[in-house]
């Protein structure tokens, strides 16, 4: 079992947003978490990644059987948890390849593996960049500076491709993407899926799920998962909307 979340509760700025989440993710699975704005989807991803603004007030979460809530965000990342950000940050003056190499080598070091020198890393990253159909010139550019919305999201998936996480949480990676970019991002994610890793997609829309087919669809509302089903649940949501599942406000 990769991820096991039980009755997880969390607050941000004194307000309880997560009110008891249960979620289990095994290797080889693809999960989709859907729901309207404010249902707690993005909060769940940030809490799992350890964002300092979010405070866990109850419940447990373990990663490969180990309590992850006591770990610092970088320790969770080194354990194999990856978050693709909804709003990727810009880092002026820092090249994409320098960032990728630092992140990669930091993981290598913590896994007791050899660091790659810039030339070796160059070879690796040139392979990985094909996954997201990006031009290698993006490697020399400052992280996300002057990138379009779609390029920023592809850049997140490039980081995922380089870091090869066990569990990737994609926080609204599809938002703001045109149909071509959506296809590229989805193809990229699909090509990275193996029986040893898993993906949790947080999304509003069913259309991403046409490209990355989930094994499970969870619907969140009011800080809880109110319904879990197979991929057909997403289609039903598309047809009927969310209202029929909503708990009384």
């Amino acid at each position: 079992m990769l991820l096991e979340v039980k009755d997880l509760r969390a607050k941000v700025a004194g307000v309880e947003i997560l009110k008891g989440i249960d979620l289990t993710v095994h290797a080889g699975e693809v999960h989709a978490i859907m729901g309207i704005n404010g249902s707690g989807k993005s909060t769940l991803s940030k809490v799992l990644a350890g964002h300092p603004d979010y405070h866990v007030t109850g419940g447990t979460a373990s990663f490969e059987g180990k309590d992850m809530l006591t770990l610092e965000p970088e320790e969770r990342a080194r354990a194999g948890l990856f978050l693709a950000f909804q709003y990727p940050v810009e880092i002026p003056g820092v090249s994409n390849s320098a960032l990728l190499r630092l992140a990669y080598n930091s993981l290598q070091t913590h896994r007791g593996l050899e660091e790659l020198d810039p030339l070796e890393f160059e070879d690796l990253v040139h392979e990985k960049i094909k996954v997201v159909e990006m031009d290698p010139s993006f490697l020399g550019r400052s992280v996300n500076e002057g990138f379009s919305g779609g390029e920023k999201k592809r850049n997140e998936i490039l980081q995922m491709a380089v870091l090869e996480p066990k569990l990737a949480i994609l926080d609204e990676t599809d938002s703001g993407l045109d149909i071509d970019a959506l296809r590229i991002v989805a193809n990229g994610v699909n090509s990275l899926l193996t029986s040893d890793n898993a993906v949790v997609m947080v999304t509003h829309y069913q259309r991403l799920l046409n490209y990355i087919v989930p094994d499970y669809v969870h619907v969140m509302d009011g800080g809880r998962i109110v319904r879990t089903g197979g991929k057909e649940l997403a289609l039903e949501l598309e047809a009927r909307g969310y209202d029929w599942l909503r708990v009384a406000a």
């Binding site: 300092p52 940050v89 880092i91 002026p92 992140a103 870091l163």
Partner: protein
Amino acid sequence: MSTALHNLVNQPYKHGFVTDIESESVPKGLNEDVIRMISKKKAEPEWLLEFRLQAYRHWLTMKEPDWANVNYPKIDFQEIIYFSQPKPKKQLASLDEVDPELRRTFEKLGVPLHEQKLMTGVAVDVIFDSVSVTTTYKAKLAEIGIIFCSFSEAVHDYPELVKQYLGSVVPTGDNFYAALNSAVFTDGSFCFIPKGVKCPMDLSTYFRINTEGSGQFERTLIVAEEGASVCYLEGCTAPQFDTNQLHAAVVELVALDNADIKYSTVQNWYAGDENGKGGIYNFVTKRGLCKGINSKISWTQVETGSAITWKYPSCVLLGDNSTGEFYSVALTNHLQQADTGTKMIHVGKNTRSKIISKGISAGRSSNCYRGMVKVGSRATGARNYSQCDSMLIGDRCEASTFPTIDVQNTTATIEHEASTSKIGEDQMFFFSQRGIDSEEAISMIINGFCKDVFVHLPMEFAVEATKLLGLKLEGSVG
């Protein structure tokens, strides 16, 4: 602010030790007798004493400038020791005769005084308190006509050159601290590159203040004749004292037709402790005169030290088609205050200037960019581009920008860009989510921010500057 962002600015100062060496000083305080004593100790010619006295008399009529965005208790100029030197055992015939204690001091600072051990291709003049200890590669440089020596030696050996250029860029009465310096300056570096000579190695001066209560008033003069070029580096440190020390230097650069001077500084004077106790008051006048056509002067500075920095390396673009550049990174932490920037004075036709300033403030510090771009009525086709970026770390520091633009010629083109950013929680969280710890993250963000300046530093300096910024910020972010 995240804990990671909090921890990065508190690395102790590494150069804070004091060398136990016998020194001889003149009594503290300043009057004409003290000036005569300094001049006599240095066996100076009469004209130089006159230069000093004239400056001193002018200084007496001047008021300490109060327009800078800095606050400090009034300086008692009678409490300062104006001349201090390690007691000379005898005249030095070679580098090997330098006092071992002194040599160890500089080795500890990473400035070995043996030529064979020096950074390859760099000649160094070493100034300890008020005097030059040694200059390396002097003989080798002399073969191609380059003069690189201490200011005192230049006064004796090349009086005509010194007389011709001293005070020609920064007149004795230019400002309060320049006048003070002109009255009491003790040593510094002199560098003369004759016509058509490209200096084959970087020239460097390393300044060290050791004696408590002493001020350092050095004078640097660099002249590049027609078609000559030189790359000059300056580094500085001081021991850790609870009292403040005054450093009031004057640097003058003169570039004749088609000459090129590149002047780089990494300033790491003691900055005081985290409560603002002690530290150097760095009140410096640096100015370059692009006297000839097509001449070029480029200032690059990395300012990380000093309790207070008051410094505006400037260019007077007199020759037609001349170019002035200013690249600056100023980092302040704890209670440091920096008021720094440049002046670009366009006089000649088609003169160009470029200003890139990066200010980083952390702790409770204050960091201010102050700049002036002036285009005279004769400066047809003058162009300036200025970019001033500030970065804030934490929420108790301050950054301000005071650009002044004064254009008297309608054909001039002036561009000014400015930005302020903050190392935010989101950036830090992004790095940690990628498995990168906070200190590496900050160092990466800062180096990215300063990249446009660092590319103009010579290799060794760029490496040193990168390390220094990391150390300075250790513990401030988090």
